[in-house]
């Protein structure tokens, strides 16, 4: 295809293939995360980001490319998860800035727009690190642009782009020592290359082996003829509903989703997807007896919507059903009295969430190391609140950017993103928040002071053999991370923690320890750790919270 001008349709087709190509290799991209903790979500985050744009873009192929790309980027911003997702969404934003006002664009214009994407992506990272996705997009964009000659077509340009992206990606370990030690290339860069390769594949008319339905958002129309008077029901009914929990029936706050899923299991439900958002439960299940399921759950609440489809007729799942609670008009919006301040925290783990709620925070958004919160999640949460100021505690550096982008684009309240990088920092800040006796500036200043004073010790295990900060780690070793730095590793969790305590230089000056005990924590073990802490600092007060979080046996705030 000798394409000399790019319009909305071509751009969408390319990005669609880019998304599919990334999706096909998503697990690989996830797997090359460098830090030895079960994080691995870069591919998933980037996939979510670009897919959001593609879904939106499908309705816009007749728009001028300037309009198309702007709306594409906006949708990708809303779907952006994690740092890698935010950076990618900002690349699309920059691309759209380069295409602004145009109906279609020539190859040179397109190449310039790609560079504008890079510039925008750089601009949102406060300390851009080379050896990441940023480097890959910058070097590929610059090289391909410099090789561009009059008369070149899009395929030639993208071919140059992809070649340089590959070369650049292979150089990332030279730029980032952590990559080199782990023997991997940058995962964000790898994800970005997958997208560029997918775009090129479209131009070459190549196929991608494994096409993901999730991205192919179109649904096959139902053919009623597939089920007649003699047919047998072999697949059951695809049953989806939204259950509004009712206070007069259950405690809607503490009601456990497990009650629902256990019942579905007991009646042989398949493909169960269920989640709880505040007092609403969304369920997707394949069952031969939807009636039984529906009457059972009226014990806990009433249905807002119910959809039941014969699976013999309809095989394509409505994936979108679970994508987004926000756009769900059925969700009743509680009208709350406007208040000067509302708080939003990001947390994972039932007990951790409860700890925040019991401190009076208004909304807890699910998220954390292994599941990054998207900008859209934040915007949706902000809409539930009615406040002049919304204070957000992202509690993870991977989520800070998504929160920042949400804060910037939200107009109905003034959003303040506190720089909390851990659950401990967030919890401490929330316990010290005082919006009554301090004015806004004082409050922000004192919150930052509190956050700066918190050290976070995270205890988990390594998913691979590696060496970090000169410490040899075997797969399965317990590791301690203090303020983001790996400080100890040991076969024994207790020993790893004691070694870590000895590395915290200012432990003697600290006063308060607040520990979130994870699902696999051991109360007796923590008693012993607590004794060791008091030996090292007799003034220290040690408190425990049953956080029930996954992955981290302990998250310990030391301040």
């Amino acid at each position: 295809m000798a394409i000399k001008t790019v319009n909305s349709r071509i751009l969408l087709e390319m990005l669609d293939m880019g998304a599919k190509n990334l999706a096909a290799d998503c697990e690989y991209v996830n797997s090359i995360n460098v830090f030895p903790i079960p994080d691995g979500d870069t591919g998933t985050n980037m996939k979510s980001t670009i897919s959001g744009g593609v879904r939106e873009g499908k309705n816009l192929i007749n728009e001028p490319i300037g309009v198309f790309s702007l709306k594409f980027s906006r949708a990708s911003v809303l779907s952006a998860r994690g740092n890698s997702g935010v950076i990618l969404s900002q690349f699309f934003k920059g691309l759209s800035m380069g295409l602004d006002g145009k109906d279609e664009v020539d190859i040179k214009g397109f190449a310039e727009a790609m560079k504008s994407g890079t510039a925008k992506a750089y601009s949102v990272v406060s300390n851009p690190t080379e050896g990441t996705m940023l480097t890959v997009m910058r070097e590929a964009g610059e090289k391909a642009c410099s090789l561009l000659k009059d008369g070149d077509d899009l395929e030639k340009y993208l071919n140059d782009y992809v070649e340089e992206a590959k070369a650049s990606l292979s150089r990332t370990p030279e730029l980032l020592p952590t990559l080199k030690k782990a023997g991997v290339v940058d995962s964000g860069g790898a994800g970005f290359l997958r997208i560029a390769e997918g775009m090129l594949k479209y131009l070459r008319g190549e196929e991608i082996g494994d096409v993901f339905e999730e991205i192919a958002a179109t649904q096959t129309p139902v053919s009623v003829g597939a089920f007649d008077a003699d047919s047998e029901l072999t697949f059951g009914y695809c049953t989806e509903f939204i259950l509004q929990l009712q206070n007069k029936k259950v405690n809607t706050k503490t009601f456990e989703l497990k009650t629902i899923t256990d019942f579905l299991d007991s009646v042989g439900g398949n493909s169960v997807v269920a989640f709880k958002d505040d007092d609403i439960i969304k369920v997707h299940v394949h069952t031969f007896d939807p009636g039984k399921v529906l009457s059972e759950f009226r014990k806990y609440g009433e249905y807002l919507t119910i959809k039941i489809e014969n699976m013999n007729l309809q095989h394509s799942e409505n994936e979108e059903f679970f994508k987004d609670m926000t756009l769900d008009p059925l969700k009743p919006q509680e009208v709350k009295e406007r208040k000067p301040y509302a708080t939003v925290v990001v947390a994972a783990g039932e007990g951790v969430k409860d700890a925040f709620l019991s401190m009076g925070v208004d909304e807890v958004v699910s998220g954390g190391q292994t599941m990054n919160t998207s900008t859209g999640d934040f915007l949706e949460t902000f809409d539930k609140l009615n406040a002049d100021n919304i204070i957000v505690y992202p509690n993870n550096s991977n989520i800070k950017m998504a929160a920042g982008v949400a804060a910037e684009s939200y107009k109905k309240a003034n959003v303040i993103v506190m720089p909390t990088r851990s659950i401990s920092e967030g919890y401490s800040a929330v316990t010290m928040l005082d919006t009554v006796n301090e004015n806004r500036d004082e409050m922000i200043a004192s919150q930052k002071e509190v956050i700066d004073n918190v050290g976070t010790l995270e205890v988990t295990y390594s998913i691979r053999k590696t060496n970090v900060n000169g410490i040899d780690i075997d797969e399965g070793d317990f590791i301690c991370i203090y303020n983001g730095d790996l400080v100890s590793a040991d076969k024994s969790r207790y020993n790893a923690i004691i070694k870590a305590l000895d590395k915290i230089e200012d432990f003697g000056d600290k006063q308060v320890v607040t520990a979130f005990l994870g699902k696999d924590a051991d109360g007796e073990e923590f008693e012993r750790i607590s004794e060791e802490m008091k030996k090292r600092n007799p003034f220290i007060e040690v408190g425990e919270i049953d956080g029930k979080q996954d992955v981290y046996s302990y998250i310990i705030g030391i301040e």
Partner: protein, 298 residues
């Protein structure tokens, strides 16, 4: 020194030690504390039970409640003063914390019929602890200069918000249970490790106006308050009272001495009445200084 024209009383929440009462020639009206249904006089000299044992009881979980001044003692002491030809000045615990000042006023009104020429001025100090004592001492000095009870009452009234109490506690639970604290929603939830800084506010409530993290930080904040808000330090005394936490009181004293020069720093126990409401481990500083303007949110 002129002869005094009136007798001066304070009450059990003043924490005023015997040496000070004798030096300034003042007396106090006893409130009551109640343990296991039994009433005891709130003795600032700890005759019946030592301060340490008293706070140990609380640490062990013994519930101690309190009661306002005894009407009979108040009537008796006012009558004795009147019989001897004196008027009466009573500097009372904040009316937001105790009904003592109202009760004393009722007693005084009652006695009016029998002693039409005598006067009792009952002042709502809007304070307690040594801020209340400091007002009482000022009143004594003015009395010695020959001022009438009305003159002294007016002077004290005019500047009572400059007599300050600031404190910190191990836990807000005692104050909350005793209903003796206004704490905004900033003090909601599990406050593990979070220490409140409390002051006697401009309308007489105890108000938790600031949070700090950790015990030491709370003591350091009291040091800051003493250094920044006390006036005329070189001629006045800083009072540091504690609920059986002498080491913490001594820490505050030592830190203040590093940064400011007070004529004197006096350590003592928080008396049984304030102690029952505030709980073991509390530290309160009292001084004359910057006028309190904060009014706590209800």
């Amino acid at each position: 020194m002129n002869e005094r024209k009136f007798k001066i009383f304070t009450d059990s929440t003043s924490n005023m030690v015997k040496e000070d009462r004798e030096k300034y020639g003042v007396d106090y009206l006893h409130m009551l504390f109640i343990v296991d249904g039994e009433e005891h006089l709130a003795d600032l000299d700890w005759g019946e039970i030592s301060a340490h044992d008293y706070y140990e009881l609380m640490r062990k979980g013994k519930r101690i409640t309190t009661s306002l001044i005894k009407t009979d003692e108040c009537e008796q002491k006012f009558t004795e003063a009147y019989e001897a030809g004196y008027d009466v000045l009573y500097i009372a615990c904040s009316s937001k914390l105790s009904a003592s000042v109202k009760t004393a006023q009722l007693v005084a009104d009652e006695l009016k019929a029998k002693y039409p020429d005598r006067k009792a001025v009952c002042i709502d100090s809007l304070a307690s602890n040594y801020a209340e004592s400091l007002m009482t001492m000022t009143a004594a000095k003015l009395a010695d200069e020959g001022c009438s009870v009305e003159e002294v009452g007016a002077k004290i009234e005019a500047e009572k918000l400059k007599y300050c109490d600031y404190g910190t506690v191990e836990t807000l639970e005692y104050l909350k249970r005793a209903g003796r604290i206004k704490a905004s929603k900033a003090f909601f939830g599990n406050l593990f490790g979070v220490k409140p800084i409390i002051l006697g506010d401009a309308i007489g409530n105890n108000y938790a106006y600031k949070k700090v993290k950790g015990r030491k930080a709370s003591l350091d904040e009291l040091v800051n308050v003493a250094v920044e808000k006390a006036e005329n330090k070189e001629n006045s005394t800083l009072y540091i009272d504690h609920a059986d936490s002498l080491a913490d009181a001594e820490y505050v004293k030592a830190e203040v001495e590093k940064r400011a020069k007070f004529a004197n720093i006096q350590l003592g126990y928080i008396g049984p009445i304030v102690g029952a409401a505030i709980g073991p481990g509390a530290v309160i500083i009292s001084f004359y200084g910057e006028e309190v303007t904060i009014v706590g949110e209800e």
